[in-house]
């Protein structure tokens, strides 16, 4: 019951808020929905009765992990949205009345992705996330935003259509054991996996990797991602990057689970590692000397998704590292996109060359940006350092050249980011006309995320390590 509740309540509240014209009231709806969502997720952690399977919904460890990330980020994004929407810096053409309903439907779809284990329903939910978030990308109604929204809508829809074909391929592969197909639920597919028709299984995984990989931003299917993430309003960028990419990754992992169950996952591992390394490399190339700081963060997302894919592909301890890195990346990247919203509001541009003297003009934002940059760059003692280290260790034990490539690319990414961000932080900006405007909530949410990342680097609570270990265990770690 709780699971159905978790999916339907945001959807219904989204419908309700569609008819709310008052922005403040709509924000109240948004905030209560996200608080309720987080509350139920906490309940799912603590009380076993609440996670009872219902209809096509069923919660497993991986689902719980990604659901928790989504819920936490959504709560942060709703809090951040309050000063963001109430501020008067949007221009006349922005559409705040569309913001809350679409955001709530977006939440509902992402929750469904995490909760369902029926692959066709999961597909419908992933496609739903695209449709719910496309209007959010077009929030500012600028030409560039329109272009980004169109690319996002078309490229992701077409990509995901291939994932549906892959889903059906998997169903066909499963008919090999008996004339009656086991259907498309994960448990049945995994049970039928050892006797599956191998060519169909492999084709299914490739199609899923290409299809959901489009949504996850794996190179060469990433072309929509920097445009979309840089044009969307900052709280939406944070969710797209921190929560949505993970949902697409989860979808690929469902297929990977079937490959593992078939006992024939070597090809899937190779594909994941290859796509991952290529993603990291290409993202690095675009991060160095990047001229737009929101695009910089978007490319950094591609890089980090590549790291996660490499981690899962390597298997062993790296799988645990990949799960941990997915958590770390979400927290860091959401924080960075929130901060980019603060910078954008103050300077009115996303061009790196026009932003100088950040630490003087927006002291808290500047300091937090430094901290989160160090965190996502992989410096100790933050969480990403440990997760990247675990993946690196496995990589170098598997193949020395793989480990060396991996660590070199990470170093390039770090230096590239530093080269772009440090000039923004330093310098003496033209003296600000008025006192710096930093709304409390717009720095408090990134601060909370930054302290979480720091906390995860210093001390990992037992319940989290257990969950991560179990999730990694399900993915062959």
């Amino acid at each position: 019951m709780m699971l159905v509740f978790l999916v339907t309540v945001p959807a219904i509240l989204g419908l309700v808020s569609l008819f709310v014209k008052n922005v403040r009231f709509a924000l109240t709806v948004l905030l209560s929905a996200s608080a309720l969502h987080s509350l139920v997720v906490v309940l799912l952690w603590t009380a076993t009765w609440s996670a009872e399977p219902c209809w096509l919904l069923q919660l497993d460890v991986i689902g719980l992990l990604f659901l928790t990330i989504t819920s936490a980020l959504f709560l942060a994004a709703s809090l951040y949205s309050i000063p963001y929407l109430l501020g008067d810096t949007h221009g006349e053409r922005a559409a705040p009345h569309r913001f809350v309903p679409c955001l709530l439907w977006f939440l509902s779809c992402m929750t469904l992705v995490a909760l369902t284990q029926h692959l066709a329903l999961m597909w419908a939910a992933v496609e739903g996330t695209t449709l719910a978030s496309a209007p959010l990308v077009y929030f500012y109604k600028r030409k560039s935003a329109l272009e980004a929204a169109w690319k996002y809508l078309l490229i992701c829809s077409v990509g995901i259509a291939l994932a549906l074909l892959g889903t059906f391929f998997l169903g066909i592969a499963a008919t090999a054991s008996s004339p009656a197909s086991p259907g498309l639920s994960l448990s049945a597919l995994m049970a039928a996996a050892p006797s599956m028709a191998r060519p169909w299984l492999k084709a299914a995984f490739v199609l899923a990797l290409v299809g959901y990989g489009t949504k996850m931003g794996l190179v060469p299917l990433h072309t929509w991602l920097p445009d979309t993430h840089s044009q969307a309003p900052s709280p939406v960028s944070a969710l797209l990057s921190g929560a949505l990419l993970n949902c697409a990754f989860l979808a690929i992992m469902r297929f990977y689970q079937v490959c593992l169950a078939s006992g024939d996952a070597a090809f899937a591992r190779t594909l994941l590692v290859t796509m991952g390394i290529i993603s990291i490399a290409v993202a690095c190339a675009f991060m160095v000397r990047q001229r737009d700081y929101k695009r910089l963060f978007a490319y950094s997302s591609i890089e980090n998704m590549g790291i996660v894919a490499v981690g899962v592909g390597l298997g062993g301890a790296a799988t645990y590292g990949a799960m941990f890195h997915a958590v770390n990346h979400s927290l860091c990247k959401a924080g960075l996109f929130f901060l980019s919203g603060n910078i954008l509001r103050e300077f009115g541009t996303t061009k790196v060359s026009d932003v100088r003297g950040l630490v003087r003009r927006l002291p808290v934002t500047g300091v937090l940006l430094t901290i989160l940059f160090l965190a996502i760059g992989g410096t100790p003692p933050f969480g990403p350092f440990w997760s990247e280290f675990m993946i690196f260790q496995t990589a170098i034990n598997t193949h020395v050249w793989l480990g060396v490539t991996f660590i070199t690319l990470l170093a390039i990414a770090f230096l590239g980011m530093a080269g772009v961000l440090l000039p923004m932080l330093q310098g003496n900006a033209a003296s600000p006309a008025q006192r710096p405007r930093e709304a409390t909530l717009s720095v408090l949410t990134p601060l909370a995320l930054a302290s979480l990342v720091l906390g995860l680097g210093i001390y990992l609570p037992r319940f989290l390590t257990d969950l991560l270990r179990q999730a990694a265990g399900m993915l062959g770690g």
């Binding site: 329903l121 030409k143 272009e147 077409v158 059906f168 169903g171 028709a197 001229r291």
Partner: protein, 217 residues
């Protein structure tokens, strides 16, 4: 019933070719509506005899497909054409002759693929898998070889249609609610795309997507 199914699949293949060959935008949309209607009949013809499926499930899917793919979506696309004041000609980056040739190649590849990927159990009719692949590939062809946003939508529809045909092999395993969910996704997708096209035409005075290329590094 197998002959009927083959006939419907042939009709789908012909409409694929027609969409690629025609130079008129409205004919494109009409052909894709006919393709949608053909697809709506397909589950009925394939599964109403021989297999013991729930008639309710079948009727629901057929009616839903007919409504959405043959009536509502073409209406939405026509409205987008009317409101966006689109040029009524297809604007291909590859000539129409070569497009038809490429569509033929795509059909050949599809038959080859269907031979290479051996089904664990034979399909209800031998045409099902190759026509499904051919529809997906032709959809991609339309997507990459045309410049207008409307034709991109039609290409996307064709890809979805191909996947739908392939999905008929698993029609009995997918719960009807999920199947309707997939249809609903398609509908909302086209609806949102229609709105986007409308905005594009207002912002840019035309809907060629080539000019939608200002965002880059």
């Amino acid at each position: 019933m197998r002959d009927w199914a083959d006939l419907l699949l042939l009709l789908v293949a012909v409409s694929n070719l027609y969409i690629v060959a025609t130079s008129r935008l409205t004919s494109c949309v009409r052909a894709s509506a006919i393709q949608g209607a053909t697809l709506a009949l397909l589950p009925f013809v394939l599964w109403s005899s021989g297999w013991n499926v729930q008639m309710f499930h079948l009727a629901l899917i057929c009616a839903g497909t007919l409504m959405i793919k043959a009536i509502v979506i073409p209406m939405l696309v026509f409205r987008a054409i009317r409101e966006a004041n689109v040029r009524r000609e297809v604007d291909p980056s590859v000539s129409l002759h070569s497009s038809v040739l490429l569509a033929g190649v795509a059909a050949g590849i599809s038959f080859w693929m269907a031979r290479v990927l051996v089904l664990p159990h034979p399909a209800p009719t031998t045409l099902l898998v190759p026509v499904a692949f051919a529809t997906v590939l032709t959809g991609f062809l339309v997507l990459v070889s045309r410049r207008q946003a409307i034709t991109h939508v039609i290409g996307y529809l064709m890809i979805e249609n191909g996947v739908f045909i392939f999905g008929q092999m698993l029609a009995r395993e997918v719960p009807w609610a999920v199947e309707l969910g997939i249809l609903l996704d398609l509908l909302v997708g086209i609806f949102v795309m229609g709105i986007a096209i409308n905005h594009i035409s207002r912002e840019f005075d035309h809907i060629d997507t080539e000019l939608l290329s200002t965002l880059k590094d």
